[in-house]
């Protein structure tokens, strides 16, 4: 009963309830502050790819071709080396950016000489879920090996689940030579 400092340590009396509430709230508040201070940069960094996404928000979601995007134009050969009406698979080296790496890498595309002077370049991926399309000459179809998607030579959906036509590369013809540009991905 002498001095209050020893009484607190030795008695079985419950601690001052006001003090206890204050301590627990303070500990909780400080912990929440620390958690937020850590979580904002950590979660922000880890999810940057999501909130900085280039793919626009759409009411209905859709697939995105996985191809590493090339920059600039690359020659895919003479126009006359392409038969009119027959899509042809080409694999050309393009300058690509892969995260922190910029290097030359092969990119595949279907080159389709639609008319004498008209050339289209198609991305090889099905617009349903991105499986690689093969062109079958007899049936004149691009066929998907996954869920039965089919595209015509013009890149339009013939049957199956694909929601939109095949994606195209920009192309140009200069001096009888065909050049493949960037993929036309709508922004």
């Amino acid at each position: 009963m002498a001095d209050p400092s020893t009484r607190i340590d030795e008695s079985d009396a419950p601690p001052d309830p006001g003090r206890r509430t204050f301590l627990l709230r303070a500990i909780g508040g400080i912990s929440a502050l620390i958690a937020a201070a850590l979580a904002i940069p950590v979660v922000g960094f880890a999810s940057a790819a999501g909130w900085r996404a280039q793919t626009p928000l759409r009411l209905l979601g859709q697939s995105v071709p996985p191809t590493l995007r090339g920059t600039g134009w690359v020659s895919v050969g003479k126009l006359d080396s392409y038969e009119v009406g027959v899509p042809q698979l080409v694999v050309v080296p393009k300058q690509i950016v892969d995260g922190w790496v910029t290097r030359e890498d092969d990119v595949a595309a279907y080159i389709y000489r639609r008319r004498e002077d008209k050339v289209v370049g198609y991305d090889i991926h099905c617009t349903h879920l991105g499986c690689p399309l093969s062109y079958v000459e007899g049936a004149r179809r691009f066929l998907c090996p996954c869920h039965g998607g089919q595209f015509s030579r013009e890149g339009n959906v013939v049957s199956g689940p694909p929601p939109r036509p095949m994606l195209q590369y920009t192309t140009k013809i200069e001096n009888g030579e065909v050049f493949l540009g960037p993929l036309e991905v709508e922004e």
């Binding site: 793919t55 979601g61 079958v136 000459e137 004149r140």
Partner: protein, 458 residues
Amino acid sequence: MRRLWGWFEERLGIGPALSGFVDRKIPRDIGWFHALGSATLFLIIVQVVTGIALTLSYVPSPDHAYESVLYIDATPFGGFVRGVHHWGASVLVIVIVLHTLRVFVWASYKYPRELNWVIGAVLMVVVLAFAFTGYLLPWDQKAYWATVVGTNVAGQVPIIGGPLLELLRGGAQLGAVTLVRFYGAHVWVLPAALGILILTHIYLVIHQGIAAPPRLKPLTEPVPGEPRKATYEREYAAEKRAGKPFAEALYIDALVALATLVLVSVLAIVLGAPLDAPADPNSTGFVPRPEWYFLSLFQLLWYFLGPLEPLLITVFFLVAGGIFVLVPFLDRNPERHPRRRPIALGIGAVCIVAIVGLTWLGATGAASGLPTVAARPGLSAQELAGLELFNTVGCTACHTIDGAGGDAGPNLSDVGTTHSADELHEHILTPDTPNMPAFDQLTDQQVEDLVTFLQAMQ
């Protein structure tokens, strides 16, 4: 030895806790089926141990991932460790499903264990996320294309699909950033989640005790008007009084763990760890297929058609996942014995049949694209030549014969009875519908073979 233990025990003081742990009473009828839970835990431990070993030689970069896996396989025990990790994942998926089924059939998720079902359901999703992030890591063909499809499925989510897809891939494209993200998720993020969830799951099992297998006739007399809590506690106390020591169950767990280890080791030695050709983003002939445990989902994507497909898929997954997680709150029937839960068990059985059936269809179905029609017995040489053409020039893309082929055009299984040779001739060379291309590039002989073959289809 005894003195050494005594020295430690004097300082650690865990002896009484250990004795209490192995001696405490559990319901008597707990037996082999309960070992599925401990087998799940055991397999997770095996995955952690072998996974840690694999990180010592694995490089998560497209330049080196595949080669580092080859290097692991060429190192003594390396192929075995990777094999155990690979097959352990498959066996883990099977065992965790069986464990869930055991809990479902015996209604162990009912009061007061609802929370542990929810945690277990989330754990199952985490295990599948482990599987999904894990099999990209070898950076082989199967890995690359399964991840293309898997991330595109995430892209189907309405409105946030694009950002979600890019969050998974680390950008719009699939490359170096994707691989290292999946690696980081596989070895750090998911294990952290797994650890917290498993500790909570096991804490609840120890704290609440193992649920007794259901009885048709309870051990104690029910008291009318008694609250649920009192009924449960009286009955569980009676189960424990008639029970056996926990060491009995641990003994079965140990035997099952040993058998599980033998199983995955045999699989690893006999079948080895598979590795496809290196990932090639330009391979147009490749047929992407996921691991077997995702085949049912892959097959499911056949059945959602039309412009609203992405919405339907998302709603389906949300509803199915929500129902799975919330089973204890949807199933209000207080009965626990299977015979008194016909509706719940019926719904469960339908789900199992659907999942197994979809997996079977996915595993046995031919790749779409150009399926191959098998020869019917007794075809002549010319008819066989026609069949060869039918399979190779692209007819099967749109036409089905005997169950193989596409459905964009008519089924031709009995076309020989409905069309004359002249009509077939005309259809092949000058089709009257714009959907069918003219096969005028074929030689006269080839068209003749094809027509002869089709005539035999009756």
